[in-house]
């Protein structure tokens, strides 16, 4: 596979999604970067382990992590950054294949594709949630350290 090309395409796609969702103008490039990191980690994981569910989890985790960091930096809601990054991971081709199998009366194949799509959607959700919990824990630790530094001994 062609890494630079995929990086560029996912960057462009996520940035263009930023335009469709009208994210603030100065965050468009960051949205593209979020999408790129999510897609590259998804692809890397997929190449190494060959399991698309785990790879999607890793990708969504990366997207949420990067989005959280950017949200802190720009002081904007995290949703501004995460959405454009999530879209490339959505199991569009599996959902499509499942539907095509239903149209062709090929129900067994349809169910297996649909189950795959469902698992991948679940992996996206898990990745988002896990990253969020992790970031909350990290920020709480940081806040505690700050409080100790400035002499607040509460908690």
């Amino acid at each position: 596979m062609n890494w630079p090309l995929e990086a560029f395409l996912s960057f462009l796609a996520a940035g263009a999604f930023g335009v469709i969702f009208n994210t603030p103008r100065r965050t468009l490039v960051s949205c593209g970067l979020v999408g790129m990191s999510g897609w590259l980690i998804y692809r890397l994981f997929f190449e190494v382990f060959g399991d698309s569910v785990q790879a999607t989890f890793a990708g969504a985790f990366a997207v949420a992590l990067v989005a959280h960091i950017l949200a802190k930096k720009f002081k904007m809601p995290m949703i501004v950054f995460s959405i454009a990054g999530i879209i490339p991971l959505v199991p569009g081709s599996r959902a499509y294949n499942s539907m095509r199998s239903i149209v062709e009366n090929n129900y067994f194949e349809a169910i297996s594709f649909a189950a795959d799509a469902l698992m991948i959607s679940g992996a996206i959700a898990m990745g988002l949630v896990f990253a969020e919990v992790l970031m909350q824990m990290v920020f709480k630790q940081q806040a505690k350290k700050m409080q100790k530094k400035i002499g607040m001994t509460r908690n």
Binding site: A16, F21, N22, M76, P77, I79, V103, I124, E132
Partner: protein, 251 residues
């Protein structure tokens, strides 16, 4: 309770509800809206206020003595710039940089301004995403112009019908139908190579990514009513797209 205090409290309530309304209309997560409203309320010395946010209405109860206020949300779209702007105003109000009146005025300006890109630029962006996804999903370069044109057309059709009829399901169904027919036409004419990847790439701009993300985050935050209703909306959108494509494929 003095008269001035009464007026001020009403202004505060107007301000909170307007903030919540703009955020919900622009596609923010429910828990973020509740968080923003409660923070603003605390900054205005309303310590035990409660709010309940659903995708179709927001209730806000400042305290036991005062009446609960309700605002109905009529339409929902996606405009993340407004979410970010309201968020910035509420931050400045909480930090004491803005007075209540200034914050309310700014909210009203945000409410009345349309920040979205022009439809031409949005269609262009949709076309670019379709082309990018065609390659990312493993399509061939010779199909690129078709995905570009079909993806843009599909998005334009959905947006136009949405403005005309306000029925989301119908708009998405028609858009998917158009995408499916155009892609089949291109293959039938012998121009394109792979029907599947062209359709998948072109459909991508219509995918309800915002709704899925929001639904998951709301459900995980314990907001089950908004989470489930947004999930239902996402499912309906996905079903509309699927039905439109399936109709074409079945011929």
């Amino acid at each position: 309770m003095t008269q001035a205090g009464e007026v001020r409290r009403n202004l505060a309530l107007d301000c909170f509800l307007l903030a919540g309304k703009i955020m919900m209309e622009s596609g923010a997560e429910t828990y973020r809206i509740e968080d923003t409203m409660i923070r603003m309320a605390v900054s205005q010395k309303m310590m035990d206020s409660h709010c309940f946010v659903t995708p179709s209405g927001i209730m806000f109860s400042p305290s036991n003595e005062m009446t609960t206020r309700f605002v109905r949300i009529k339409s929902r779209g996606t405009d993340l710039e407004r979410v970010a702007l309201v968020n910035a105003v509420s931050r400045r109000l909480v930090s004491g940089e803005l007075t209540l009146q200034q914050a309310y005025d700014e909210m009203q300006i945000i409410d009345q301004t349309d920040y979205r890109f022009s439809i031409q630029i949005q269609v262009l962006a949709a076309a670019v995403t379709s082309a990018c996804f065609l390659i990312l999903m493993g399509g061939g370069w010779e199909d690129l112009p078709f995905a570009f044109v079909i993806g843009g057309t599909g998005f334009y059709i959905v947006e136009t019908i949405l403005v005309q009829t306000r029925v989301k399901f119908f708009a998405e169904f028609t858009g998917a139908l158009a995408i499916g027919s155009l892609a089949s036409l291109v293959i039938y004419a012998g121009l394109g190579q792979d029907l599947d990847t062209i359709i998948i790439g072109s459909v991508m701009p219509l995918v309800p990514g915002l709704l899925i993300t929001n639904a998951v985050r709301d459900l995980m935050a314990g907001h089950f009513v908004p989470g489930l209703s947004k999930g239902a909306e996402a499912f309906l959108t996905a079903f509309a797209i699927g039905a439109g494509i399936a109709l074409v494929l079945s011929f």
